[in-house]
Amino acid sequence: MTAPTPDALAPSAPSAPPVASGVAGRARAPRGSRRRTVWRWLLLLAFAVFFLVPLLAMLEFSTRGAGGRTFDAWRAIVKDPDLVSAITISLELAVLTAVGMLLLLVPVATWVHLRLPRVRRLIEFICLLPLTIPAIVLVVGVAPIYAWVTYFFGESSLTLTFVYVILVLPYAYRAIDNGLGAIDLRTLAEAARSLGAGWASVLARVVVPNIRGALVSASFLSVALVLGEFTLASLLNFNNLQVTINLLGKRDSAVSVAVSLASLVFAFVLLLALSYVGRRRASSGVTEEG
């Protein structure tokens, strides 16, 4: 619903007959609406330029060659074993982080909604902490723990999963919490329990399918965050895509820029998918109410 314009809210002049005032209001409304549309397009264009120009510049730089355009840098992405390994590790980390986050947060958030609604704010606060703590402080705190992590799990970069699960908590918890808030969780869980479902079945057959959109959102956000993460991996001396891109930048800037662009586009596609899922969820909600 569009808000009424100030003109529409202003009282008409005492001498003007009500009909005339109404006609004037109707005549003004389309003009205001057209103006808003123009502004919308101008803003969209400005943002498009702001975001696309650097991306186009990256594309231009990564395809620059001695005798014209070349895709050598892009081809090198799949030929460089270090890069392929870094891409693989980052993708594995993204998947492991998303899975770890879901395994941790879905039962906890469900339990908090059902049994401990009073601690909901506290849990939310704890989950938001990684957002407020600078990465360098986080590393200082996490480094001694990682001495033990590497002792037990080896020195694989995949151990970054533990710290990445913490890193994605603020975004993922909010998405899952919203999803749980959008359904009548208590009644659904009690209905399932009365029909003989144990807690695992309640989670797997009732909760998860009904907050699927929220879980996809949380997972996409986690994946996007992990694919772009550099600071923690670098300071903890692990190798991931961003660390490798950084090293590569010192050796072959064209390949480095090509990989950066590819990962940006990948994250962008993920976010588009996220917005599509969110819109579909919203529209299905309307249908349910109707």
Binding site: E190, A191, R193, S194, L195, G198, V206, N210
Partner: protein, 355 residues
């Protein structure tokens, strides 16, 4: 000993007593309603039976077995909730099969049982629909079928009709009674709607402040309320003030017969409970004679309620007590606001309760 026994149930929430020593027995196949205002503890009692709450004290016994600490998913109780509780990700058929799936019933048997129940609730053509494609009444029918699919020991109904519009409510109410009668399933029904409770139940338990004030057949609860609370909560009631006088009562200087008056000391203040439809009215023509024992009054207002007219009558003078009287609409033409009437309370002597 009943099939379902609730023994001395007590439950508090943060210092607020929700159940205060509740006792209730249900015979096998019986439908008992717990009726009461919001906060009287009826839903808490139902949730304790279902296993969603644990009592602070007392026991829940089903068929001789103590179920007080048995988890909800192992109690074999079907429940229909006040809120629409169908799983949105499943069709009507999927919802009905859910409990059977949890019991690892084979696909063929599951399908056959679900089809039987869809037919029982008259929703076979809607088997493939999702909850958001069904109306409120249809959703509650599916919820009922889902609860019955597991052949529960007890059926628990937590105000399942309250979210429905009036017409659907009445039709589903009749359907619940029919199905319950056909299956002979022991049922505990919780409601704040007295019409629902009176129409559906074998017995009604009227609850107040965590206790059952009266547990009896609907007719007796209505006609012979055991306490002032029951009298005032169930049905429309007049409460007249008077004085005990042996086996009768004195109101405005008139002595009237009354049930239960003998138990009160002579001269003590009492309240007289009388239903509007149990009062006789006749016009007093030009100050003409009034039958002995009848009170006189003046009609103050009248409201047309379809089959009957509700009249407000002021007894005696200007500061007299007000009385609501229901008369058939066709007879009401004899009365109009301002006219004098003789009020006859003797046809069915009123009940005396302590003031």
């Amino acid at each position: 000993m009943g099939y379902l026994e609730l023994r001395d149930l007590e439950k508090s929430f943060g210092g607020v007593l929700a159940l205060d020593g509740l006792n209730l027995d249900l015979a096998a196949g019986e439908l008992v309603s717990l009726l009461g205002p919001s906060g009287c503890g009826k839903t808490t009692a139902l949730r304790i039976v279902a296993g969603f709450e644990t009592p602070d004290r007392g026991r829940v016994v089903v068929d001789g077995k103590d179920m007080t600490r048995v988890p909800a998913n192992r109690r074999d109780m079907g429940m229909v909730f006040q809120a629409y509780s169908l799983f949105p990700n499943m069709t009507a058929l999927g919802n009905i099969q859910f409990g059977l799936r949890m019991r690892e019933v084979g696909a063929t048997d599951r399908r056959r049982r679900a089809d039987e129940l869809l037919e029982l609730v008259g929703l076979s053509p809607h088997a493939a629909k999702y909850p958001h494609q069904l109306s409120g009444g249809q959703q509650q029918r599916v919820a009922l079928a889902r609860a019955l699919a597991i052949r529960p020991k007890i059926l628990l109904l937590d105000e399942p009709l309250s979210a429905l519009d009036a017409k659907v409510r009445v039709s589903l109410r009749d359907e619940i009674r029919r199905i319950q009668g056909e299956l002979g399933i022991t049922t505990l029904f919780v409601t704040h709607d007295q019409e629902e409770a009176l129409a559906l139940s074998d017995r009604v338990g009227v609850m107040s402040e965590g206790r059952i004030e009266q547990l009896d057949t609907p007719a007796r609860v209505y006609r012979e309320p055991a306490t002032p609370f029951v009298a005032q909560f169930v049905g429309v009631t007049n409460a007249l003030h008077g004085l005990a006088d042996g086996d009768g009562v004195l109101i405005d200087g008139h002595r009237l017969p009354a049930r239960g008056a003998a138990g009160h000391p002579r001269g003590s203040a009492i309240r007289l409970i009388v239903r509007p439809e149990e009062i006789g009215l006749s016009p007093v023509e030009n100050g003409g004679p009034v039958s002995p024992g009848a009170l006189t009054g003046t009609i103050v207002t009248q409201s047309f309620l379809g089959a009957f007219m509700r009249l407000t009558v002021r007894l005696g003078g200007d500061d007299g007590q007000l009385l609501r009287v229901d008369v058939p609409s066709l007879e009401a033409e004899r009365h109009s606001p301002g006219s004098k009437v003789a009020v006859d309370l003797a046809a069915r002597p009123p009940i005396v309760v302590a003031a």
